[in-house]
């Protein structure tokens, strides 16, 4: 006959397992809901699907490891924060690599280094947008935005985070989010306007 202690422990284990299963289902549903947009967001930043997949997987692992026990309402800004952190790290690594191998002494240290590149804006994508390939034009325009502007645009307007959550995800002030978003809209509109 099982002792009361064993029964209690088994009962606690069973209850913990049921709770864990519910939590696992909830977090899987959440991640399933955001993973495609996360991949596209990482792809805009890295311009490589493989790199983007690696970053998203890394973000998923870190998110599950660090934040899966938090209430579900807190997950969206936390997940995007983890991914944003990975994107920033990736950009820093690229910048260091570029500094050493391609453009020594050309690193300004700010977020606008992409817009300062000489071939930042090509007429090709805009011409394709006039032909109806708006998606490709938008993708290129987004890729050419500075990281922070692109993140502000994607998190606020595509992902639908409010200003406070976007600021939390980007680890900056709400004012910075508004500034980045305003600049992102201006730059994107300027890039696409000529093709309407």
């Amino acid at each position: 006959m099982a002792s009361p202690i064993c029964l209690m422990t088994a009962f606690d284990d069973g209850r913990a397992n049921m709770q864990a299963n519910d939590d696992a289902r909830a977090i899987e549903q959440f991640m399933r809901g955001v993973e495609r947009r996360a991949l596209r967001m990482a792809e805009f930043a890295t311009r490589s699907r493989d790199e983007a997949l690696d970053l998203v997987q890394d973000a998923m692992f870190a998110f599950v490891r660090n934040y899966s026990t938090r209430p579900g309402a807190e997950w969206p800004p936390l997940f995007w924060r983890v991914l944003d952190s990975r994107l920033n790290d990736w950009h820093r690594r690229q910048r260091v690599r570029g500094r050493w191998w391609f453009k020594p002494g050309d690193a300004s240290g700010d977020d606008d280094f992409l817009s300062e590149a000489p071939d930042a804006r090509e007429p090709g994508p805009f011409a394709r947008m006039a032909d109806g390939e708006a998606s490709a034009a938008l993708e290129i325009a987004l890729r050419e935005l500075p990281l922070r502007q692109r993140q502000a645009f994607l998190l606020r307007l595509w992902e639908g985070l409010d200003v406070a959550d976007a600021a939390s995800a980007m680890r900056c002030s709400e004012g910075s989010v508004k500034t980045h978003l305003s600049r992102a809209l201006a730059n994107l509109r300027r890039a696409l306007e000529a093709h309407r």
């Binding site: 899987e28 998203v56 998923m60 490891r65 899966s68 708006a134 509109r189």
Partner: protein
């Protein structure tokens, strides 16, 4: 200059295009995303299981400790008040010090043994 509604239309179109691009990912990419998600969740299951085991072991250890303390208390309690165990040294001392004859008997045990062996009576 753009009017506000034009601005919103443009944003709506942009987000719709982005949604479309996310919805139309190829099967291989979706499979890799699925594997990444499952791997992350498997990590969580390991963490949860380890936590459950730790909690269970901790609970069992606490329960075991409680039982041990209870049993120790239960077996010790009668002996604490028992004169045979706890007070034995004190009773020996009482025996040796309270009665002069008893002390005399104790000190001369060898003599009384010898006397008994030879059948004599020292008192007469």
């Amino acid at each position: 200059m753009n009017q506000p509604h034009e601005h919103e239309n443009w944003i709506e179109r942009a987000t719709a295009l982005l949604d479309q691009s996310a919805d139309n990912l190829d099967a291989e990419t979706l499979s890799r995303l699925n594997r990444a998600r499952q791997a992350a969740l498997a990590q969580r299951r390991v963490i949860t299981r380890r936590w459950a085991w730790s909690a269970g072991l901790a609970g069992a250890a606490v329960a075991l400790f409680g039982v041990a303390v209870g049993l120790h208390h239960r077996f010790d309690e009668p002996t604490l008040g028992s004169p045979t165990a706890a007070s034995t040294p004190a009773s020996d001392i009482d025996f040796l010090t309270s009665d002069d004859d008893a002390l005399d008997l104790y000190e001369n045990l060898d003599f009384y043994a010898w006397l008994e062996k030879h059948g004599g009576d020292p008192r007469g």
